[in-house]
Symmetry: C2
Subunit: 384 residues, 2 copies
Amino acid sequence: MKKKISILGSTGSIGVNTLEVISSAPDRFEVVGLACGTQVSVLEKQIEDFHPKMVSVGKEDLARGLQQKFPHLEVLWGEEGLVSLAKDSRTDLVVSALVGARGIEPTLAAIESKKDIALANKEVLVAAGALIMPEVHRHGVRLLPIDSEHSALFQVFENHNRNSIEKIILTASGGPFLHRPKETFPLVVPEEALKHPRWSMGKRITIDSATLMNKGFEMIEACWLFDLSPSQIEVVVHPQSIIHSLISYRDGNMLACLSAPDMKAPISYALSYPERISTEVVRLNLAKVKELTFLEPDVEKFPLLKLSYEVAKKGDVYPAVMNAADEIAVEAFLRRQISFVQIPQLISETVSAYQESFPLSLEGILGADAWGRRKAEELIKVLS
Amino acid sequence: MKKKISILGSTGSIGVNTLEVISSAPDRFEVVGLACGTQVSVLEKQIEDFHPKMVSVGKEDLARGLQQKFPHLEVLWGEEGLVSLAKDSRTDLVVSALVGARGIEPTLAAIESKKDIALANKEVLVAAGALIMPEVHRHGVRLLPIDSEHSALFQVFENHNRNSIEKIILTASGGPFLHRPKETFPLVVPEEALKHPRWSMGKRITIDSATLMNKGFEMIEACWLFDLSPSQIEVVVHPQSIIHSLISYRDGNMLACLSAPDMKAPISYALSYPERISTEVVRLNLAKVKELTFLEPDVEKFPLLKLSYEVAKKGDVYPAVMNAADEIAVEAFLRRQISFVQIPQLISETVSAYQESFPLSLEGILGADAWGRRKAEELIKVLS
């Protein structure tokens, strides 16, 4: 029987790669639903190619236009549309690939409707891990990571030896500014920060990779996924992005997953788990790669990595606040409203200013998220 | 309940490391039997430290001397002693760590007596895989590899995805002559060949590493252990010996095991499988390692690697003949009777000369082994 899949964020980089994996194994997968924000022309092509039963778009007028073109298709819109699509009873697995905290609610809805989740939207765990993980366990669904680092860890995670895990080593490409002197960071323009050396991704995650905020988020995500504390997670810079992460067991053996930097490798594993399907991912030839290099991350140059450990230890809704501040800071940087070095400054100040007491419920986390955004916006006015 | 362990080859490098692992987890393991050849003074110390119930040594006079010193110990000797020790009903797991083809018979006896096997003696599978593997399956015992390469593969081998394995990549340190020009190979003296850059091992395996014969043996061993054909196994030179081998799955993901070059990492896994115990193996710090490098093996410089693929494809008792010729060639080289470049020549000529028809039984394989030795000895007389 085919696995029935819905994709939240089908026109983004993960969504497009997911559809490529699906189209390479049409005997195994079937698309039930597709959701995107505003890229309706891309969505239209996806509708023609994959014949979903339902779609959801960001705004009502976009939905109306689509409905006219595809009269037999169920067309939804807005946050409500996302949630309905995530809960639909025809779906087995929901690919959660929206960007930012707005993915939390539909992902939670999918879990509560007993869908397995293939998770690319890391903010779901960063901001709402305390809420999401108990629901995952309660409903007995699978939470399958799509991030290459977490997929790597998931692939070599021995469930029966979970107490024998000494630590996890997250690899980081180091981003575009690995070798750029810190003194020149104030001069960084968005065009430079958007040039990621290894991965072609959305804008937000590309900037987050340039500041290493992304690696901090991944550390928090790994804590939730693998039930570890921040002190059990180390980051090592590995510019080639070929070893995607490693687990170090207490017997001195480290297990790792390697592949060419192609998101179809982790995506296919999340879709086909526990089996493995054929993909056209370029095969790695280590003799051609020649060398894999490693170095310590420079936390002076990339203060957000250090901040993320502090925030992870604080727990509570602090990660949601940090994530909210980062979303705002990245947008402001891309608008040239703040400088590159003001990104960490803004996030750090927002986190420091947090003295509210939002509960760890969906409302509380979304409240903390909204608070973080407002506070960051306020601080931008002071800074700029 | 403690796992009861006997070690065939307790005074060699693997045996000594195994006892170190055992002594670090005295609540988990207990030594039942120890067997060695002639290093009786080392064995005496092991008897005092580990209180085995029985021991076996190479010769009768050595056994007599030991019996006088340890009147309450069961002391055996010779091939018969090895077999009795391997079969003893008090043992759960036999560490097969003899050197060469003489390990075949006691290992087979242990399998037939339903012992799990921790296998370091690769000739057991190289020469007698066709005999050993059906017995392993028939008696439902575990065959747990100790070689670092095969342990690595075993650790990332997904049994439910065995049909999704595309290939295996065996890593090779390249040995001491990786960068030595081929033209100077005729001048290699035993002292140079015995200096392995990464591992401290017995003499035979160290020379086999210098000729890459060892990697050829490992390729054949991997075929048997993981039910693969030689064409599914590649060799890549990795001088740091940190990635111990990799499995490439059909989705483009490669799983690998890494550790500091310390045999206690794979040994502990074989002893504690499927669990993992704490060891004092030095933990790998990739940022300190800095780089891992890879290159294609040079089959012109190391013709035995190529020969091993040809021999593996021929199958039958050819691998036993190749192994026998190698044992004789290495001994002759260490005695300075033949030169370094005559090792592959001798092995190749012995294999080419084989036209007998020994059956794939224990007697047949031991017959082919004896034939290979005789033929190699004859050829040495011509060469030297």
